[in-house]
């Protein structure tokens, strides 16, 4: 695997939209060609090379390309958008839409990520050492197709509206989460190792949520079913199973109504 290193040389006045920083776009290109790729400041187009020094070499394909972004990326939006393979290492924190609509490959952010990380994600892996903002693994504004597949791992805390309209894949948060978890979800797995506040699984149709800590306020649309033994993310324990959200429609399979499952660790 070849590595391309981007070192910032100038800060943009506005946030910089870098949806072209992906292994897919870099693969097979020389450092000059990479430096010529467009990035966006508002409605104006600039070459990537105006803001970054590009060193190293890209691989022949996306899968053989690794990108390292040095320094502070907290004003970069859309890192790794729609990437299908390869790797991105962000050494600092990143702004919104990291790994948005990504279909494969791996992104590792050593700092924090802002809202809409992994929005509409279909595959691959997004690992964040710090905290995540709101709408992690959610759907784009208005859309009903949130995270479809892949895995998101947040070592810190996450914001509100996590897994909004989630349909597949897995989100793991080591810390706590803010309000609204898995709203409108129709599939997928959300694992919260810390605490949740309220509106957990609102209007959720199918899918699973595990909460290892506490939920401040349970939704009234969830019904307690039973206590059972489960192994989740390498941890064994007793969980109380709730099903819901009974305020929402639910599909039938083999004559049985299918509900979303909310597991609360005992």
């Amino acid at each position: 695997m070849n590595t391309v290193t981007l070192t910032p040389k100038k800060q943009s006045d506005l946030y910089l939209e870098v949806n072209n920083i992906t292994p897919d776009m870099f693969a097979g290109k020389s450092t000059e060609q990479i430096a010529a790729l467009p990035v966006y400041v508002g409605n104006t187009e600039h070459p990537l090379g105006e803001f970054f020094t590009v060193t190293g070499a890209a691989g022949a394909s996306a899968a053989e390309t690794r990108i390292v972004i040095k320094g502070d990326s907290s004003r970069l939006k859309y890192i790794g958008m729609k990437m299908t393979a390869g790797e991105i290492e962000v050494e600092g924190s990143a702004d919104q839409y990291v790994g948005g609509w990504m279909a494969g490959g791996k992104i590792h952010v050593q700092g924090n990520v802002q809202a809409f990380a992994g929005v509409g994600m279909r595959g691959g892996e997004l690992l964040v050492d710090g905290n995540a903002g709101d709408y992690l693994g959610a759907a784009y504004r208005g859309d009903w197709r949130g995270m479809q597949g892949g895995k998101i791992y947040i070592k810190g805390n996450a914001g509100s509206d996590l897994g909004y309209f989630m349909n597949g894949g897995t989100i793991v948060v080591d810390g706590d989460v803010d309000v609204f978890v898995g709203t409108h979800a129709e599939g997928g797995t959300i694992i919260i190792k810390g605490n949740a506040k309220s509106k957990v699984g609102g209007q959720m149709v199918q899918g699973e949520i595990y909460v290892f800590g506490t939920i401040d306020v349970m939704l009234p649309g969830y019904i307690y079913r039973q206590e059972l033994e489960k192994e989740v993310e390498g941890m064994k324990g007793k969980f109380a199973l709730f099903e819901g959200d009974t305020a929402e429609r639910h599909p039938k399979r083999k004559g049985q109504l299918q509900y979303a499952k909310l597991y609360l660790k005992q």
């Binding site: 409605n43 104006t44 187009e45 759907a139 784009y140 504004r141 208005g142 859309d143 009903w144 429609r249």
Partner: protein, 574 residues
């Protein structure tokens, strides 16, 4: 104004009966003229290219509150397709920011019609109460001439007058409303059914009575036809029949069409039909549930072909993700119950209602495949292309920007076979339709009838639009398409996707595929003069005092703010 001479193109024009002969088209003072009438024209070399009149959209939802609800509640429709605005990049020197796929911004709507070679479009459903909004959006849609059809089929005045068999009063009210809202024609959407929806009901058959008003859809349709011909409006009654979108609805459609029997067109505009049934694809369904859903395009088109006083437009399903929107409120509720996607619904006091639901016509779903087939069957079964028009009921069955793809399917059996093969349930689609057995491929002459001359005649605008006859408006499209060559399906689609040159009332709008001018768009409306009718005027005053939440003065559409460039079609029914 500059004179132009478009030389040596392959010309297709039903008004002149030219079927692809090499000919010249001359433009002077905004009109088509004889080729010897231009002295020092700018010459456009159209050799090896196709020349037609500007296209005419007879039915699309492109302006007004429900379109805007779609824009507002579907930000995802603009995801990844917005372009930068005026002068931001060298390719956008004359265009403003554009965005949206199924519900594009007003500017993008105008530009996209122009890019397809279209120069006129009709907004298919204007709620009279929100006519001002419709006109503001049309004003902000550049290049193309536009008109709007106010909806009448669930209007309280109309329901009451028709119940009492007061056709004169119905006509007088229509004339007043056309002027008050600057409307172009009489639209009727699910007659009676939308009013019934206010009561939690619907009218699925033409004999289902409307609650409280106690009239039937059949009576409403007949009454509106009679009123239309009494006034002698340029267009006929434009109907979206009852029972749209349900398996087995073709019998309701035949019942709706029968309302035209015995009626004859009376007007000075050379219009021959008394009933235009829109997006008839949605009304040509067999079976009695989704599992045995099938095409009934043949019985519908057998009837249409035999009855010269009926015209139809198709409403082709384009197999895209789109946004459905209609004044058929109950239907939109039905749809959201089917696909569980977001639903917007509004009641428009005294007049109509509307609903909006996103919809994905997936090639993996058997019903969508059959719907696709039915649209094509209707066009291919049509014996008179001057009475069957190309539409997608934009954006309901698909965005109008897919017209080139529809042409590909209509003009190439190979393209249809490729699509049939691509369906996930190919066998079921073939079993549920006749499309696989069709070998007809439409000619460009037939296409010109279905998109130009035919709609112009049906709208009563053949004295302005739809052809290249000297005296008509100089709306001319030049496509980079050589009909004498062997063209692959994809070449057909590409050639009709972006016009090479476009002229609108004599002004050059597009050159080499780039928009060079925003033209001088006009708003068409019909000014129908009727005998003074004190009863109707009193009824109008009374309804505004008793029921409307606005005053009449805040209802009517007047002045340059709403219509900077009006074009009134005069009708004298006194």
């Amino acid at each position: 104004m500059t004179e132009f001479l478009i030389k040596n193109g392959f010309v297709f024009d039903p008004t002149l009966k030219i079927k692809g002969d090499v000919a010249d088209v001359a433009i002077k003072n905004g009109k088509i003229v004889e080729t010897d009438a231009v002295k020092k024209p700018k010459v456009i070399d159209a050799s090896g290219k196709t020349v037609m009149a500007g296209g005419l959209e007879i039915h699309a939802h492109i302006a007004g509150p429900k379109v805007n609800v779609g824009r507002i509640y579907r930000p995802e429709d603009k995801l990844f397709n917005a372009t930068a605005g005026l002068k931001a990049t060298p390719t956008h020197m004359n265009t403003r920011m554009e965005g949206g796929f199924s519900i594009p911004t007003t500017y993008k709507t105008g530009y996209n019609y122009a890019r397809l070679g279209y120069t006129t479009a009709m907004e298919a459903a204007m709620p009279p109460l929100f006519a001002r909004h419709v006109h503001e959006e049309m004003r902000d849609t550049p290049i193309i001439d536009e008109g709007a059809y106010p909806v009448f089929g669930n209007n309280w005045f109309v329901l009451e007058y028709i119940k009492n068999r007061e056709i004169n009063n119905t006509a007088a009210y229509i004339a007043w409303l056309l002027e008050a809202t600057k409307g172009f024609a009489i639209k009727s959407v699910n007659p009676g059914g939308t009013e019934a929806w206010g009561w939690g009901l619907n009218c699925l058959q033409v004999t289902d009575p409307v609650p409280y008003f106690d009239v039937t859809p059949q009576e409403i349709t007949t009454g509106l036809i009679e009123a239309n011909e009494l006034l002698g409006l340029p267009h006929s009654l434009h109907i979206h029949g009852n029972n749209l979108g349900n398996p087995g609805n073709y019998t309701t459609t035949l019942d709706t069409l029968k309302a035209a029997e015995g009626h004859k067109a009376k007007n000075k505009f050379h219009r021959e039909q008394v009933l235009h049934h829109t997006h008839i694809q949605f009304h040509s369904y067999g079976g009695d549930k989704w599992a045995n859903f099938e095409s009934k395009a043949r019985p519908i088109m057998d009837y249409v072909n035999k009855h010269k006083n009926i015209t139809v437009d198709v409403g082709f399903v384009t197999l895209d993700e789109t946004t459905t929107m209609t004044a058929d409120g109950p239907f939109e509720h039905h749809l959201t119950e089917l696909n569980h996607l977001k639903w917007a619904n509004v009641d428009v006091e005294l007049e109509t209602a509307a609903g909006v639901v996103p919809y994905v016509y997936s090639p993996d779903i058997f019903v969508c495949g059959v719907q696709w087939a039915i649209g094509l069957e209707i066009a291919l079964l049509s014996k008179d292309p001057m009475r069957c028009f190309i539409t997608t009921d934009h954006p309901n069955a698909g965005p109008f920007t897919r017209y080139p793809r529809i042409l590909k399917w209509l003009m190439s059996q190979k393209a249809r076979d490729e699509q049939i093969k691509a369906f996930k349930n190919s066998d079921k689609v073939v079993n549920g339709s006749e499309i696989a057995s069709f070998d007809r491929e439409l000619t460009l002459y037939e296409v010109a009838a279905m998109t130009r001359a035919g709609p112009a005649k049906a709208l009563g605008l053949s004295h302005m639009y739809g052809g290249l006859k000297p005296g008509l408006d100089a709306d001319v499209a030049v496509y980079n398409f050589n009909p004498e060559k062997e063209n692959s399906p994809d070449e057909i689609e590409k050639a009709f996707s972006t016009v090479q040159y476009l002229f609108k009332t004599g002004e050059k709008i597009i050159k080499d595929g780039e928009i060079v001018s925003n033209g001088n768009k006009r708003t068409l409306w019909v000014h129908a003069k009727v005998e003074e009718n004190p009863q109707v005027m009193r009824d109008i005053e009374e309804k505004f005092v008793k029921y409307y939440t606005v005053t009449k003065g805040n209802y009517e559409v007047h002045g340059k703010h709403f219509i900077p460039n009006p074009l009134a079609i005069e009708v004298d029914a006194t």
